[in-house]
């Protein structure tokens, strides 16, 4: 998993509520057996018209935000299907962090497993960040995970909270399975007792 330290980039505003994972990664891109080729699928129905032509009005098609690294999103972003393809696709499109007031639970975990920093901020901060992102002159942000802050070009700073374990995993780019297997003996001991007490689960 790619490490996340200090990342500087353009933020794009995407204020709609309840942007679901069907919209982030439509079904026709779910037929693979690997993680590749999903960048084209990301927001496909919003980015492209029925004949494959770009929709000029969609924010990520506009020249100012075409290379966005961050999305300032509306509430409940990533709701719906558990498909991790949505997160793989966002990463392949070059998105490194999502800034919003709330994220759907499965999507939030999927972000953490793939080096995509999903940050939950208060309404005022997200409103300010949406305003900054909406103006190309102020859309450039620096997201500093070690210091837990977001800085705009006008000097405005936003602090954020993040659970220490998630922060560490993102900073170090840890492999979750390898990390957990350090507790192999704990799992074995737990499992032995648990199955002894509930033998109908054997």
């Amino acid at each position: 998993m790619e490490q996340f330290g200090i990342v500087e980039g353009i933020a794009a505003p995407m204020p709609a509520a309840n942007v679901d994972t069907d919209v982030i990664m439509p079904k026709q891109f779910l037929k693979g057996i690997d993680r590749s080729g999903l960048g084209d699928g990301t927001f496909h129905g919003l980015r492209f018209g029925p004949n494959g032509e770009e929709r000029a009005e969609f924010v990520l098609n506009r020249p100012e935000w075409r290379t966005a690294s961050f999305l300032v999103v509306g509430p409940n972003f990533g709701c719906g299907s558990s498909r991790e393809h949505a997160v793989w696709g966002l990463r392949q499109l070059g998105i490194r962090a999502l800034l919003g007031t709330s994220f759907a639970g499965i999507f939030f975990d999927n972000c953490a497993r793939n080096g995509l920093l999903a940050l939950t901020l208060d309404h005022d901060a997200v409103r300010s960040l949406t305003d900054l992102a909406s103006d190309p002159a102020t859309a450039k942000l620096t997201v500093d995970l070690p210091r837990q802050s977001i800085t705009a070009v006008n000097g405005k700073r936003f602090a954020f909270d993040i659970e220490p374990a998630r922060k560490e995993a993102l900073e170090l780019g840890l492999d979750g399975v390898a990390t957990t297997l350090r507790f192999r003996d704990d799992i074995l001991a737990f499992e032995r007792d648990y199955l002894e007490q509930s033998p109908w689960l054997m």
């Binding site: 204020p15 709609a16 509520a17 309840n18 679901d20 069907d22 919209v23 439509p26 079904k27 779910l30 037929k31 693979g32 057996i33 690997d34 993680r35 129905g45 029925p50 509306g74 509430p75 409940n76 709701c79 719906g80 299907s81 558990s82 498909r83 991790e84 997160v87 709330s102 994220f103 759907a104 639970g105 499965i106 975990d109 999927n110 497993r113 793939n114 659970e163 220490p164 374990a165 979750g176 399975v177 957990t180 297997l181 507790f183 192999r184 704990d186 799992i187 737990f190 499992e191 648990y194 007490q197 509930s198 033998p199 109908w200 689960l201």
Partner: protein, 472 residues
């Protein structure tokens, strides 16, 4: 010390160790999973690349459900090359790692969340995580079920655990009797409308009250299934006699002495009387009406006799914009009677509403009548067992005589990963769980409702109150 909620009891009994100082982040032991062909491939590849075995292969079951065709004659053919590759790789992986598989020709194949309960694999007090958001269904049995992504499927398969953040408990109390023609589907749709599509984000729900106690297992599964549509990542109902009765005859449920021991241990699976919930919501069953969605989020719903709402009446600017966008996508005009909305497609299926009770309620509406001209109506049973049961009861004849297609099991047009798809602009009455843009096909328009309402809409050619003369 104050009492403990059922949710916290389940998390406590499955905590291997804490992973944070406040104890909210923890290593959670997971009893069981069910795998499908589309969210599992990359997880298996990860195991292969790291040369890791599956920790407990007997605690996993594979079933093909998302990409397979549902044509009435079942064959092994997967016309779509991607689907063919996924099902082949799935079979290879299940064989390689020693996991039982129900492929499309298997007599027990079906939608994962229909198959697991009917086999008796969902037991009270267990934790079941699976690569599908509707795993919340299992709360109907007092099991903590929740959806996970592919990375977490790999983590589960390799370690039998997940890195888990404890949720806040929230109780939804529903009391009184549901009116005739009002179902569990309407109850959960009314809840989602009331608290919003993110109303339970960060929470695990517990459903309680006299209405819930009177519901069948099928009805409880419908409610827990759709709890994820208001953001809940877990939805529980304390197990009672209804659960025991359902499980006692299931082929994979414990038998004999083990059954008695299990039943004894399940007695403690309820929230203590003095347990405190992070949030409490109450609903009066008698006030719930048959519900239908008009927009593109499950909370954009209304009682069937309402009008399409007017965004101009919405004071919140963000919500107004979302409503305008939804109505434009849905091709609807504010002020239109919902019962005047005409449809071209009708779909009865999905892990929300394709169990035997659902098919019976739809067949009761369809019996002796005909699908309206210009409407294509499909019935896709939730599993091969449900299909056989329905045929034994003659429901297939009822549907076929009325002009419905009687198809083979699968997720089908709930998410349209196979060839069951809405064409652009087509409007569908659907017994499924999501009315998202493009969910049932690019530019397709979905109205969610109960299976009986789908049948009534199919017959009348427009959305219909199932309590009206036209509905019954």
């Amino acid at each position: 010390m104050r009492g403990t909620t059922l949710y916290d009891k389940l998390v406590d009994s499955h905590t291997v160790r804490s992973l944070s100082e406040d104890g909210r982040q923890l290593l959670l032991y997971v009893d069981r999973t069910v795998l499908n062909e589309y969210t599992s491939p990359q997880a298996f590849t990860g195991l292969r690349q790291a040369a890791r075995p599956v920790w407990r292969p007997q605690a996993a079951l594979g079933t093909v459900d998302h990409v397979n065709p549902t044509a009435s004659r079942r064959t092994t053919a997967m016309p779509d090359p991607g689907a063919a590759r996924q099902t082949e790789y799935f079979a290879e992986n299940c064989a390689h790692f020693g996991i039982e598989l129900f492929d499309v020709m298997h007599k027990l194949q079906g939608i994962e969340h229909v198959v697991m309960p009917e086999l008796g694999l969902v037991l009270p007090g267990t934790v079941i995580a699976a690569g599908d958001s509707h795993t919340t269904t299992y709360g109907a049995f007092g099991a903590l079920g929740f959806g996970i992504g592919t990375s977490d499927i790999e983590h589960y398969l390799a370690t039998q655990t997940l890195i888990y953040k404890r949720l806040k408990p929230m109780r939804v109390s529903v009391d009184g009797d549901l009116a005739a023609g009002v179902t569990a589907k309407d109850l959960v749709m009314a809840l989602i409308r009331m608290i919003g599509a993110d109303g339970a984000t960060g929470y695990a729900l517990e459903f309680a009250g006299s209405t819930i106690a009177q519901l069948s297992i099928e009805g409880r599964m419908t409610i827990c299934n759709m709890a994820v549509e208001c953001g809940a990542r877990g939805a529980l109902i304390a197990p009672d006699e209804t659960v025991l009765e359902y499980l006692a005859s299931r082929p994979r449920a414990p038998k004999g002495g083990l059954w008695s021991r299990a039943v004894d241990s399940w007695q403690s699976l309820r929230s203590d009387p003095d347990a405190v919930f992070g949030r409490e919501v109450a609903m009066a069953a008698a006030l719930i009406e048959p519900m239908v969605t008009w927009g593109t989020s499950p909370d954009q719903a209304a009682p069937i006799n309402d009008l399409v709402p007017d965004p101009g009446q919405e004071s919140d600017q963000g919500r107004r914009r979302d409503m305008e966008r939804a109505l434009s996508y849905m091709g609807l005009t504010p002020g239109t009677r919902l019962t005047d909305i005409t449809i071209q497609r009708a779909f009865i299926g999905s892990c929300t509403n394709a169990r035997i009770e659902d098919l019976r309620s739809a067949a009761a509406v369809a019996r002796g009548r005909r699908v309206a001209a210009g409407v294509r109506a499909m019935v896709v049973p939730g599993s091969s067992s449900v299909r056989r049961q329905a045929e034994a009861e003659g429901l297939d004849r009822v549907f076929l005589d009325a002009g419905f297609e009687w198809r083979q099991p699968g997720c089908s047009m709930c998410l349209a990963m196979n060839d069951d798809v809405l064409h652009p602009g087509e409007r569908c009455a659907s017994s499924t769980n999501r009315n998202f843009e493009g969910r049932q096909g690019a530019a397709g328009r979905t109205h969610l409702m109960s299976p009986a309402m789908v049948a009534a809409a199919a017959i009348n050619g427009h959305l219909t109150d199932p309590r009206s003369r036209a509905g019954v």
